[in-house]
Symmetry: D2
């Protein structure tokens, strides 16, 4: 793997609202995948990749082709969590993102260990296309 790639851990705060929980009083398991996707989106934004521009101007989007998660500890209603994204692998048309969810902050209890594989796809043909390496080499947007 190209060692020049931006492999820092990106993190994004997540608050647990009623919408995220279920009758067990805990975060509904499928919603952790939404939390991971928010972190991926914000991580891409931090690398200057805005997915609406990709989709509407360049007819490209990311498609999740594999999603795996281990749920180690439950999160409860109203808790503050943090979700991470870190590039863990890159092929011609796919990339692998390591994603964890912690209670409170990065020093908090590890609640969920996730691994997401996304493909970079032509939105018209749904065929995979080469991931622009620049995505992961850009200096961070300083806003």
């Amino acid at each position: 793997m190209d060692t020049d790639l931006n492999q820092e851990i990106f993190s994004w705060p997540i608050r647990v609202y009623y919408e995220d929980t279920d009758a067990q009083g805990l975060v509904y398991f499928a919603n952790y995948f939404k939390f991971m996707e928010r972190a991926r989106t914000e991580w891409l934004r931090s690398l200057n990749v805005e997915q609406d521009k990709l989709l509407y101007e360049q007819k490209r989007h990311f498609v999740v082709i594999e999603a795996n998660a281990k749920f180690l500890k439950p999160a409860r209603f109203n808790e503050q969590l943090v979700a991470t994204a870190r590039l863990a692998g890159l092929t011609r048309a796919t990339f692998l993102i390591e994603q964890n969810i912690y209670r409170k902050n990065l020093d908090g209890e590890l609640l969920c260990k996730g691994l997401t594989t996304a493909a970079y796809v032509n939105a018209d043909t749904q065929k995979p296309v080469r991931v622009p390496v620049s995505f992961f080499k850009e200096p961070k947007n300083v806003l």
Copy 2:
């Protein structure tokens, strides 16, 4: 209002899964709007209106422009509900649908009283277009 219109009550069964509930142990209020939309979709299907064909072949879709609901009694995890749809009004480009949700069946306890206003819209321009009256005069699909 045209009295020839199909104004029967259409009903559609809904099972409450974990995904529909929240940490209060009850159905999360916003999810009743999803239940009502499932009933609307199936009601339209019973009138031979398939929304994917409308959207992809005719570039038309329905857009909810107003949604109101009173939540009278809570529904719990794993309960069987029924959601209804009945045409309650029709203008040139909008239609009003009365939608109730009952516990178990139409004779069960009334849980939620809803009223949805949908516009019929050109999917490219997002401008309202005339609702084909035929939607509501078709004989029921015997399939």
Copy 3:
């Protein structure tokens, strides 16, 4: 209505993720109700009301008993929105919250006008109980 009550407009930023949109390319209408609930929750937090403590320590929760919304303009994938909450009425056991959603910020285009009625409820009996007026008179948390 008691004119001492805290009637300022509270606002909370909302980013539109894929999870919030539907095949029309727009925010799915029922998800605006989730956005409004996030704003209500954060507004209550700004008034020192933490709903998990209420629920688990005092056996009290808020139940939405009526939700109304007019959807004026669509929001699209990846847009930045803001949702508001303002106390618009208070009875013995219910309160009425005016909630709007704007594009970008409070000066942006008004997308959705909402009105939520919530009851304050004993979580064990599901019976309404008196809303502590202190909720809305507390000085703002300076955190």
Copy 4:
């Protein structure tokens, strides 16, 4: 593994509504996990296991501790799908369920291959407890 266990494939129909899709025009990936959970719930119901009774009367629930899925082909708005559940492994306190999603019916195109690990848990202590083997040996409910 005990070869007496009920290892048939259970299947459950799923209709794709707007709520399930996203701005890519396809089913939002995390929602496949909800589809799988509906199939698991109905499979358990077919084995006479009602999860609300378990939760409220016996203080037991199932907790997903690992969820994996490969998304092979996209499903679109308004399509009819079918989701399956089949017991693929059983330990003292966990069980492994193989879950696939097909277009139309079991002979249709395979869209998603999933594997879910659930633990059987004491709802008060959140500690794992022994899965009653009877769950998977009961004759089918003839209702």
